[in-house]
Symmetry: C2
Subunit: 434 residues, 2 copies
């Protein structure tokens, strides 16, 4: 069978990794795919630098349109990132009838509906295994491995930077700022780490996972997002005492009345596998009504793990490009005409357990007043402890049973207004993941 | 699109589960597959009993040939188990040009080469996600998710019965016999548990995983198999003291000179995720040269989890049946003409670290004599401790660095011959899984 021809847009970390994987494992890949996968053109800004990597056998240009319109190219691999140029180029590739492989979660989380609709109309595939959890085949697992199930919920550690920071804070007792500086020094965090630490990157990925799991359109703007930059070392210690570890989770859950879609620091029981995923690793726990809980773990970022996912997509496209488009795996796991516009619930409607820390003047009656407010709001308490803070203050830590977030908001507003409450309350969500 | 027609052979635990999944999640499955999956005929021994489950809308017969030769049926689902009738019926289904979905690991581990060759010649698919690790989509992950990688090794907890027994022995301090009795009482172990506890079931599954990972023919007869029935409670405690947990692992590894293929109780570091997989759960750790380590976790058995995998295969076949056979995913991950006949190494050539326990008369010079033998055999010791046993005896426990198993065999024979050695030695393999 003839080789399949690939045009590569971008030759940065993941682009360079893709080149390496295709070159170094060419034989193993062809043994599986039944044909070779050949990069015939590369579009980059710095042509001279790219030539040093790929040599003279491949056409290198700084004009992406030349690659996009090359009639000999079957698949465009977009690895430039961002959502302006990348969007234009992917739409052009689709218009030219080419299949697209991309790792661009930000683009798909925001413009996926438009892109997948265009691809469907044109009968081409847009694949994105590399966009979520790097080398872990999680898109494939949900889209193809769990097709028998009504998926109930999923929860994932899908940002390695924040998981690394949280591991460092817990294991070495560092503050957030110290752990972030370490992560930057070791290359786990960018110079501007905002997208990672504020949960935006995780929310991009979660948005895609929710669509795959539930057959709903991509809707990043509905996601509730909280990062880890305000997390105090104290709360990590208190959580540990209660039998929990704090992880930045992306959680999406199907309920009677809609879908929860949220990224936030979460207390997870220590004996749960997710709680034991340390450093820059990723893991996603998916619960299906028939299969029960399943977990997928691996490296969620980096040159070669991410390229592993890009190349797996290339093999899939090489295998399926001859198939009738009606018979291919649908982009978002469900057939386009079977998507449902289930409402994504506002965060006030989320149900969770809660960890609350209140700093108070240490005097009689304080606990009773707070407990009364919680009870009046219908929030029942599972466990509680008090920890002195200096000579005159104390932290009171509550772990609630499941409650509606709106009710917790109301109670917090009333507690905040109490005269002996010293500073803002800390509220973290707790998930049993069962 | 018209529905795809399925004939079901067997309506036991997994067959009944498959019926339930297809019935209860019919809508969700059709939303994904783009067409409905319809069971039109069932072949069973007890027709009356089957009718009570499936009702009157489905043809129920005790004549499997009638189902196998029904021209309206597209896919045969074989769920009767065993390797005599099942083999005949699957070969007949293939001869009739029907696709086959099976959960039959024993059959495929022994006769897979013949079955896949017949299917390839006829242009039909034989899928077997349910044969390995129940509901976990591990076949798909290796065959399609990790296609960019040269897989280096994999290690799995792929038998829930033995993992349950080991968890009980460790957590509740039970003997093997007590834990087995519990497992039987709770339905995790069969009345005749031999296949599970002696590692045969795990070896069936490992044989299939090794073929998928390395592109070698299925060769169950080359697997080295040890079970857990002789495992002493003492060794679990000693392992814990050394920082390890004992798991029955299936391990296969690609080396320069061939492939290791082995099932045996294994000491695994406690901070490794595999060590924390408890009860009847399954997990497989796969290491690829590009992606690094990835792990897949979930329920490895049971009515609905196994049926989840059967139905995922049905959806795959429904999607791919219209595709040119040349473009489908190959049965054993690699194209038939790209399989390699790499040698499977005899167990004496395996390299591992070893846990050795020697019971001796407690007197001076004993340790020196044993240490001398190990050193003469080129086996270097990582850690060692001695534990009194009664008034006059002691257990000496050694943890070796990596050594060739043949060398360890020689050393053990010489140690066994020492006059002060009291009974047979215990030797367990240790894997760092990195």
């Amino acid at each position: 069978m003839s080789s399949i021809k690939v045009g590569l847009l971008g030759l940065g970390v993941v682009g360079g990794g893709t080149w390496k994987v295709l070159t170094q494992n060419a034989e193993e890949i062809a043994r599986r795919a039944g044909r070779s996968i050949e990069v015939t053109a590369v579009a980059v800004r710095d042509v001279a630098k790219a030539k040093r990597l790929v040599g003279d056998s491949v056409r290198v240009t700084d004009d992406a349109m030349q690659v996009l319109r090359d009639p000999d190219i079957d698949i465009i691999v977009e690895l430039i990132g961002g959502d302006t140029l990348a969007r234009t180029w992917i739409m052009e590739a689709i218009a030219q009838g080419k299949h697209v492989v991309t790792a661009n979660k930000a683009l798909l989380a925001k413009h996926g509906n438009e892109i997948f609709a265009a691809a469907h109309a044109k009968g081409v595939m847009v694949t994105f295994e590399a966009a979520v959890a790097g080398g872990i085949p999680i898109v494939k697992a949900i889209r193809e491995g769990l097709t028998a199930n009504r998926i109930q919920w999923l929860a994932g550690i899908i940002n390695g930077t924040t998981n690394f920071i949280l591991s460092e804070m817990r294991m070495r007792g560092l503050s957030f700022e110290q752990a972030l500086a370490d992560a930057q020094r070791l290359g786990y965090a960018e110079t501007d780490p905002t997208f990672d630490i504020e949960g935006v990157d995780a929310a991009h990925k979660l948005t895609l996972l929710a669509s795959l799991a539930f057959g709903i359109p991509v809707q990043f703007d509905k996601a509730h997002i909280e990062g880890i930059s305000t997390l105090a070392q104290d709360d990590i210690t208190h959580a540990e005492r209660l039998g929990y570890r704090i992880k930045l989770l992306g959680i999406t859950r199907r309920r009677e009345d809609g879908i929860e879609l949220r990224v936030h620091p979460t207390l997870v029981p220590v004996d749960c596998l997710l709680a034991n995923v340390e450093g820059a690793m990723n893991a996603v726990l998916v619960s299906g009504d028939m299969v029960g809980p399943t977990l997928y773990y691996g490296q969620g970022a980096g040159e070669l793990p991410t390229a592993s996912a890009v190349v797996a997509d290339l093999v899939d496209v090489a295998r399926l490009e001859a198939a009738d488009p009606e018979h291919r795996v649908p982009h978002l796991a469900f057939q386009p005409d079977a998507m449902q516009d289930t409402v994504v619930l506002p965060v006030q409607e989320v149900r969770s357990s809660y960890y609350l820390r209140v700093r108070v003047q240490d005097r009689p009656g304080v606990l009773a007043d707070i407990a009364r407010i919680l009870s009046d709001s219908g929030i029942s308490i599972g466990s509680m402890f008090q920890q002195p803070h200096g000579d005159t203050e104390a932290d009171i830590i509550f772990l609630s049973h499941e409650a509606r977030e709106g009710a917790v908001d109301d109670a917090m507003a009333r507690i905040r207004a109490l005269p002996f409450v010293q500073c803002d309350l800390t509220r973290l969500r707790v998930e049993s993941l069962t």
